[in-house]
C-alpha cells in the first residue's frame, strides 16, 4: 500500500493519475502473462545456471520449496520396484512402484528447469517398466525413451515448460495393469516466481485397486482383470493402503496454519470428488493448473490428474479428506485425515447444550 500523507494534498493530486496509469499497465501486463502464455519457451527464462539433484520424498511428505530463482539442470533418478506390501489390515498385494511405495516419489522442479531423468528398474523385477510424466512435452511423455528391462536403466531429458502439478505413471503395456498395481506419482513444476508460502505441505494420491478376494480378504491377493475392466474396485485408497493417513498417521496441523495439499489421482478408473469434511478449500488450483478457485467444498480430480488445495486451520478438529462418492470412503478405504490441534474458537464453532 502506498501511504499518502495528509499534509501534502498537492502530492495526492499528482499520484492518483499515476496510480490509475500504473494499475492499467498492470492490468495489461496481467493479460499478457495469462496462463496460456506461461509455457511459451521464448517468454520464459531457460538459461541454465548450474546443476542440482532433486530432493525426492515419499508420501505424505513433500520436498521443500525450491530456493533457487533461475533455471537449473535438475538430476532425477527414480527406481521401479515390485514389492509385496499390505493393502489393508489383513490383505497383501504385489505393488509395482516408483521408489518402493505407492504413490511414487514426489518430484519438485521449477518452470524453465532442464530435467535430466534416469529410470532404473530393480534387478529382481519381473517386468519391464517405463514412465510417462504429464509434465513432459515429447513422445509418450518420456515413455518412448524409457522402456526399461529388469536390472537396466534408461535416460532422457526434458524442459519443464508448464507450471503445475502433474501426474506421472508407468506406460508399459498393458498400461492399465501397471497403473492398477500402483505405478504413479506426482511432479510439481513451480512457477518461476514460486508458490505463495504456507505453513505445511502434504502429498496425497488416490488410486483404485482390484483384487481376486473381497475387501480385506486375508492373504496375498492377485489382480482381478474382470473387476478392473468393469471398473468395479475393491479398494479406493489414499497413499496405497487402508488407513495409510488416519489415526496415528493423520497429518498434523495447528490452528492458525495454512495447509497445502498436493493431491493426485492415479486411477486407473475412478474420478475423485475430493472433499474435506468440516473444512472448506480457501484455494483450489483447479486440475493442478494455474487457475485458482476460492471457497470450494468439493473439487473433481480426474484420473490421471491432480489439484493443489489449501485450507486455513480455524478450530481443533479431525478433518476427514474423502472421495465424496461416499461408498468409496465408507466401504472401500478412501479416507485420509488432518488432525488439527490448538485453541477452540467459539466465534467459528461451538457445540451447545440442548
Amino acid at each position: 500500500m502506498i501511504q499518502i500523507s495528509k499534509k501534502e494534498p498537492h502530492l495526492k493530486k499528482a499520484i492518483l493519475p499515476a496510480l490509475l496509469l500504473l494499475s492499467f499497465t498492470f492490468f495489461m501486463f496481467s493479460c499478457k502473462t495469462n496462463p496460456g502464455n506461461n509455457a511459451d519457451e521464448s517468454k520464459i527464462d531457460t538459461t541454465l545456471t548450474g546443476t542440482v539433484t532433486a530432493e525426492l520424498t515419499t508420501a505424505p511428505n513433500v520436498p521443500k520449496p525450491l530456493t533457487y530463482t533461475s533455471p537449473k539442470k535438475v538430476m532425477v533418478t527414480l527406481e521401479t520396484i515390485e514389492k509385496v506390501m499390505p493393502i489393508s489390515d489383513s490383505s497383501e498385494y504385489t505393488f509395482w512402484t516408483f521408489g518402493g511405495q505407492v504413490p511414487g516419489n514426489f518430484i519438485r522442479v521449477r518452470q524453465g528447469d532442464l530435467v535430466d531423468f534416469t529410470l532404473k528398474n530393480a534387478p529382481d523385477s519381473k517386468m519391464s517398466h517405463s514412465i510417462d510424466l504429464h509434465a513432459v512435452i515429447g513422445p509418450g511423455g518420456g515413455a518412448d525413451a524409457t522402456a526399461t528391462a529388469p536390472g537396466q536403466s534408461t535416460h532422457f531429458q526434458f524442459r519443464a515448460l508448464h507450471p503445475g502439478l502433474f501426474v506421472y505413471h508407468c506406460a508399459t503395456g498393458p498400461v492399465p495393469l501397471h497403473i492398477a498395481n500402483g505405478m504413479y506419482g506426482l511432479i510439481l513444476v513451480e512457477p518461476q516466481g514460486g508458490l505463495p508460502k504456507v505453513d505445511r505441505e502434504y502429498y496425497l494420491m488416490q488410486g483404485d485397486f482390484y483384487t481376486k478376494g473381497k475387501y480385506n480378504a486375508p492373504g496375498l491377493q492377485d489382480f482381478d482383470e474382470t473387476k478392473a475392466l468393469a471398473e468395479n474396485p475393491d479398494y479406493v485408497l489414499f497413499n496405497g493402503k487402508v488407513r495409510s493417513t488416519t489415526g496415528p498417521n493423520a497429518l498434523p496441523a495447528k490452528v492458525g496454519e495454512t495447509v497445502r495439499l498436493f493431491v493426485g489421482n492415479g486411477g486407473p478408473n475412478l474420478v475423485s470428488s475430493f472433499h474435506p469434511i468440516g473444512q472448506i478449500f480457501t484455494k483450489v488450483y483447479m486440475e493442478g493448473g494455474t487457475e485458482v478457485n476460492h471457497d470450494v467444498q468439493t473439487t473433481l480430480i480426474p484420473s490421471g490428474g491432480a489439484a493443489i488445495v489449501e485450507m486455513k486451520m480455524q478450530v481443533p478438529e479431525v478433518i476427514n479428506l474423502v472421495d465424496h462418492s461416499i461408498f468409496r470412503a465408507f466401504n472401500k478405504g478412501a479416507i485420509a485425515q488432518i488432525k488439527v490441534t490448538g485453541a477452540e474458537n467459539a466465534n467459528i464453532y461451538q457445540k451447545l447444550k440442548p
Partner: protein, 251 residues
C-alpha cells in the same frame, strides 16, 4: 555315509539328465499380436522344440567347451556385467547353488543363447514359433484359464530360488513351463517394433506404450501377451537378466 553317498549320487544323476529331449510342435498359423498391413497371420511349419528350458547344468557344459563364453572372458558387447552372476565362478555353478543345477539358466544374453543353440546344432525360436508353441492348452490344469495362471505368475515377485524345470505345467505338445517359470529369449525378440534408427517409418507409430499400445493389437484383453511383448521390447542383445533364459528349436 551310505545316505550321503546316495544323495550325492542323486545330485550327480540330476546334473546329467540333459537328454536333449525335443518334442514336435505341429504346423499352425500365428496371428501377430501387433497387426500391421504387412503383419497378417503367418504360417508356421512344424518344428521341434526343447521340452524344457536350458538348465544351468546344461549351460555349464557349453561354457566348458567354449572358453570365450566363460564369465571372466566374455566380450561385454555380447553379454553385460550380469552374465552368469548367480554362478560361483567361471566353471562352477557352486555347491551352495545345488538346488538350481536343474533350474533354467538365467542371466544369459541373446548372443550367449544364440551361441549355445549353434553349438547344439539348433536355433532360437522365432516369436511366431514361441507363441505358437506356448498357445497349446495345458494338460491336467488346476487353473480355469491359462491367461489367469500367467497373470498370477507375472504379478508375483521372482522367487528367491528359481524352481527346477518341469515344475509348472506340461502343455498338449509335451512342452514344460512355457509360462510360469522364466521369460525366454526369442530369435527376433524386438522385431515387432520399429527400431530407434528408423524414425519416420510407419512402424514407429506402433510403439507399445500408453494407450496407443492397444490400438493395433489382435486381442486387447490378452494382458499376458502385452506383458510379454513389452518385456521383449525393452531388451537389447547383451542384456543378462535374472528371470530371462531360453530354449532351442530345430526346423
Amino acid at each position: 555315509m551310505i545316505i550321503t553317498f546316495f544323495s550325492a549320487a542323486n545330485a550327480q544323476k540330476k546334473v546329467v539328465i540333459s537328454k536333449d529331449e525335443m518334442v514336435t510342435v505341429p504346423a499352425g498359423k500365428y496371428q501377430p499380436f501387433f497387426i500391421t498391413p504387412n503383419n497378417q497371420p503367418i504360417p508356421v511349419p512344424s518344428f521341434k522344440m526343447d521340452e524344457t528350458a536350458v538348465t544351468n547344468a546344461e549351460f555349464l557344459e557349453f561354457v566348458k567347451a567354449n572358453p570365450q563364453w566363460r564369465r571372466s572372458k566374455v566380450n561385454r558387447l555380447f553379454a553385460d556385467t550380469n552374465y552368469l552372476r548367480h554362478w560361483q565362478s567361471d566353471l562352477s555353478i557352486g555347491e551352495a547353488n545345488k538346488k538350481i543345477y536343474n533350474s533354467p539358466v538365467v542371466n544369459v544374453s541373446w548372443f550367449a543363447a544364440e551361441a549355445y543353440s549353434k553349438w547344439k546344432n539348433k536355433k532360437l525360436p522365432t516369436i511366431a514359433q514361441w507363441e505358437t508353441a506356448a498357445k497349446a492348452p495345458p494338460r491336467n490344469f488346476k487353473y480355469k484359464s491359462l491367461t489367469d495362471f500367467i497373470l498370477d505368475w507375472y504379478t508375483k515377485p521372482n522367487p528367491k530360488v528359481l524352481p527346477n524345470v518341469k515344475s509348472t505345467y506340461q502343455n498338449e505338445y509335451g512342452l514344460y513351463d512355457m509360462n510360469g517359470l522364466i521369460w525366454e529369449w526369442t530369435f527376433n525378440f524386438n522385431s515387432f517394433i520399429g527400431s530407434r534408427d528408423s524414425r519416420g517409418n510407419d512402424e514407429d507409430e506402433l510403439k507399445n506404450f500408453c494407450a496407443g499400445g492397444a490400438l493395433n493389437v489382435s486381442d486387447k484383453s490378452d494382458y499376458a501377451a502385452f506383458l510379454r511383448f513389452s518385456y521383449r521390447g525393452s531388451l537389447k542383445g547383451n542384456f543378462c537378466i535374472a528371470n530371462l533364459g531360453f530354449r532351442c528349436v530345430k526346423n
